[in-house]
Amino acid sequence: MDKILRIDVGAESGPKATKVPVGEYAGLGGRALTSAIISKEVPPLCHPLGGENKLVIAPGLLSGSAGSMSGRISVGCKSPLTGGIKESNSGGQPSQVLARLGYNAIVLEGKPKSNDLYKVFINKDGVKITVDNSLKMLPNYDLVAKMKSEYGDKISCISIGPAGEMKMGAASIAFTDMELRPTRHAGRGGVGAVMGSKNIKVIVLDDTGMQIRAPKDPQKFQDANKRFVNGLKSHPVTGQGLPAYGTNVLTNILNEVGGYPTYNFKQGRFDGASKISGETQAETETKRGGLATHGCHRGCVIQCSGVYHDKDGHYLTKQPEYETVWAHGGNCGISDLDKIAMLDFLDDNYGIDTIEMGATIAVAMEAGLAKFGDADAAIQLVHEVGKGSHLGRILGNGAAMTGRAFGVERVPVVKGQAMPAYDPRAVQGIGVTYATSPMGADHTAGYAVAQNVLKVGGDVNALKPEGQVEISRNLQIATAAIDSTGMCLFIAFAVLDQPDTFQALLDMLSAFYGISMTGDGVTDLGKKVLKMERDFNKAAGFTPQHDRLPSYFKTEKFAPHNVTFGVTDEDLDKVFNW
């Protein structure tokens, strides 16, 4: 990887591709690279759907290598949903393929001169951009099937569905999985709308003839990778829990502690939780001939995904994630796993963020557009988004827009982005991250890695409530660094508990690049990324008042524990004091 592919969609004779050296961005990957390019090259006050905004797609530092779990890919831009900087990442095959093709990033820039829609094909021989208006408004599954018929089955695809073409704030970018299905998504923040604004429907990648990326020190890399894999396999979460049940294993326990937002964040328990739990989901998948254990990209050893079949044993969708099952399930009062799986499929097909869409439907239900628990009505609302009806245009722009359009006060968003599946009144520490992350409400923004390993900012007394601010800070720093490596965030569990596994990760990076990576280096990288992102947001008009939860979280008691969000504004303002 030594170059960036810049595609100027505003060139006179149609989109023009230019390969440029990676230059000043050398040594950066994933989120670090997307945020560096956006913060340097995009005017913070620009319109997110205008010609000044850019869409950056960047594999991680180890993507394309033999390193396990290195298949995440980051997408960056100014978000049409939040108005701030955005990094949204995904699994799937394209990260590995793009890296093997030698690209540190693809940057879509400029403003299209016409309404033509384009496809981009990249292989070892170069880049070919073709106008193809037959692709207009094709859903992702149909689109990928068409690309497969044109380019064969050795490809992987990065694409948008109708929601992206319609430039909706909840539009995602799809990345194909190992089976060439558009099941993995950079969902958050409306990144699909920015791709749509560049009139690029799909980027088709084919790495046939390319070699796996070689480390500087193959022996040390192989040794470190082996230790890393052993660490993941020996850990109860990455070695047992996630492979057996996937992320939806969280439903039962979140429900039990009363932290499972139900009926649009009204209460913390859902009577139908056990019907839609990861345990029930895995049992259902296995019984129907699907898969409860499956990877989203080659080289994954955690295998937290799966394949969900319908009652007749036919493929319906990939195993829906916990956040998806919650968003369309408990948050909407729906306890029918098959209907939730259908909603997941529709979201993937139309190209919509499942969290934003579920939260939006719950707000719509609160507004009276449908009854809580009415799964068929929820499905119909998603179809409205796919069709682009007037109602669908409102819903497709997210929970905040829908709340404004229908006069709903209880709208669970921060910086315009819907909260995920953990109520911040029950688990207040995550509320600190929701409030202060530059990304808007995002459970993955403060996900990773262990202050007890990195000791960012010194030792923290975790048993004191005031430790929440410090821990959130440390987690956000560490997560920003992990997101920059292109490693799956789920490695965090093993790294969290096993310093040897963390060291193995550092050793992998060091052996690959011929450097000496340390824990301090990781911390510095995370801080650097967060500073870039915060500076961008500040210049875009964000103030400390944007680092707040909606006020009803401070006043509405959350059953069954009847708690409110108690972290003070003063404490929230200290999160980034380092």
Partner: protein, 206 residues
Amino acid sequence: MRLSRDHGALYPHLAFTVDETLVSCFYALLQQGVMVRCRTGCSVAAFLKDELKAGEETIEKIQSIILDGKPVDDLEAAWIKDGSTLALSAAMPGLVGATLRRGGAYSSFRSAITYHETKEAYEPEDGVVKIKIFNLLMSGLGRDLLKGGVMVPAGAIRNFLEERSYDFWQGCRQILLDSAPIALGALRDPAWLSGKDQIILSVIAA
């Protein structure tokens, strides 16, 4: 296991002997919660060891313990009372999964809902405890619990039986109601549950 003895003749006893692969069908009931009649007024640690017969290895595997809806950090300082609900889970993914671990580094994140005991100790007494078993614990601890017998609300049994497929019934080797064989038709007719409040359910693999 003492649980089955203690349930005694209080309620009808429905005993399944099923193919090995079908035992997991009953785990749905463990997620919803089953009840055991047992000795209460003891710490969670003692309850796990003495009443559920959980060995050290199993207790180590139980990373999240939720007592009456609140995460427990100190197993010696949280007490099981008559009417308690105890939920048990192996280590969970995600930051919130880590947050809910007992005594974990991120326990402050959920300090608003953490379990705190109001008394130093409680008198031992016979009582009923609702137990929920989740995820990786179902095939070990949960299976043992089902083998020994648990109390299940009649409504939950009715729903469970209604939802079973042809394959399930094909895999049932023996079904006894109060030690006497019960015909499939009679079992699937909800009439036998009429007026029943609870059922004792036990499940073993053939």
